[in-house]
């Protein structure tokens, strides 16, 4: 039988979350660089964005719309019992899950350690992702009147 002896702690989770965020920023930077390339026509981005949002609208309506899944759940005692069970679990274990002001437990401990893991490379990725996103927003919004007429 394999017995796992090393259990990850808040520092391990913090290091991993910092890395995940940095990868997310890099994805944003690269996506913005790709879409701000002069070869890419902003009208195409608007068309695709509009169409994908339309699909998202109908999918979201199936969950949160009137007569969607959450609306049906609200009207049924069994479904609400499962929902209450989840909120009850969060309420009873709030300190263990979300932690305390000391940052010694749960999510607070992970966030406290994330703050300690931040470095220059992370800050550069964050600011660069903002910079490239603004350039993309500018490219799209400066042509919105021409694209939509």
């Amino acid at each position: 039988m394999i017995v796992c002896t090393v259990v990850v702690n808040a520092i391990d989770l913090a290091v991993m979350h910092v890395q995940m965020l940095q990868n997310l920023f890099e994805l944003m930077i690269n996506s913005s660089l790709l879409l701000t390339n002069p070869a890419i026509n902003p009208a195409d981005i608007w068309n695709v964005g509009y169409s994908a949002s339309s699909f998202g609208y109908w999918v979201a309506k199936s969950f949160i719309g009137n007569g969607g899944t959450i609306d049906w759940a609200r009207q049924n005692a069994t479904a609400m019992a499962y929902f209450s069970n989840a909120t009850n679990y969060l309420g009873i274990n709030a300190t263990r899950i979300f932690g305390d002001t000391e940052g010694s437990r749960g999510m607070s401990a992970v966030l406290k350690n994330m703050t300690m893991q931040l470095n220059e490379s992370f800050a550069i990725s964050f600011m660069r992702s903002l910079n490239e996103s603004v350039k993309l927003a500018y490219k799209l919004l400066s042509t919105v009147n021409v694209t939509m007429g």
Binding site: C4, V6, V7, V8, N9, A10, D12, L13, M16, H17, Q19, M20, N23, L24, E26, L27, N30, L33, L34, N37, A39, I40, N41, A43, D44, I45, N47, V48, Y50, S51, A52, S53, S54, F55, Y57, W58, V59, K61, S62, G65, N66, G67, T69, W72, A73, N76, A79, Y82, F83, N85, A86, Y89, L90, N93, R96, I97, G106, M107, A109, V110
Partner: protein
């Protein structure tokens, strides 16, 4: 000529499989939650590491696409094709074409009063899967 009424299609091909996914989710997670071991945080940690590296993989692919002229040209061709045919693919806000049409009719079918029991069954499985997923992921924070 239509091969099947859209209500039949969305019931059997969209709503029933989604309901099955909810059942699989709670069916797998509830036994795991009942028998949690001390190394549960390791399990969650490893899954998040996979997600981290998946992000890195996508970031690299997008980075290469942005810097390589040939790949960029192929990306642009795909974007233009999608843009020219968007109504036939993801559809429009009226839900009259493409994937939006299917999503709109799934909503209509879910909202159909005569299928009330079906919709409630899906709603129960959805909340049960949500409950199990919340506990499964947050139990690891409790153990940190």
């Amino acid at each position: 000529m239509p091969i099947a009424p859209v209500s039949e299609f969305v019931t059997n091909s969209i709503l029933t499989p989604i309901n099955s996914i909810y059942v699989i989710t709670w069916g797998l997670l509830e036994p795991i939650i009942r028998h949690l071991t001390a190394d549960h945080p390791n399990f969650i940690y490893s899954q998040l590491c996979v997600l981290t590296w998946t992000l890195k993989l996508f970031s690299t692919i997008v980075g290469v696409t942005a810097t390589n002229a040939t790949v960029l040209q192929e990306f642009n061709k795909t974007l233009v094709t999608y843009s020219l045919n968007y109504e036939n693919f993801t559809g429009n806000i009226a839900g009259t074409r493409g994937m939006s049409y299917i999503a709109k009719n799934s909503y209509i079918e879910l909202n159909n009063a005569s299928k009330r029991d079906n919709s409630i069954y899906i709603a129960i499985n959805f909340t049960r899967a949500l409950n199990a997923a919340i506990k499964y992921s947050l139990k690891s924070l409790e153990m940190v």
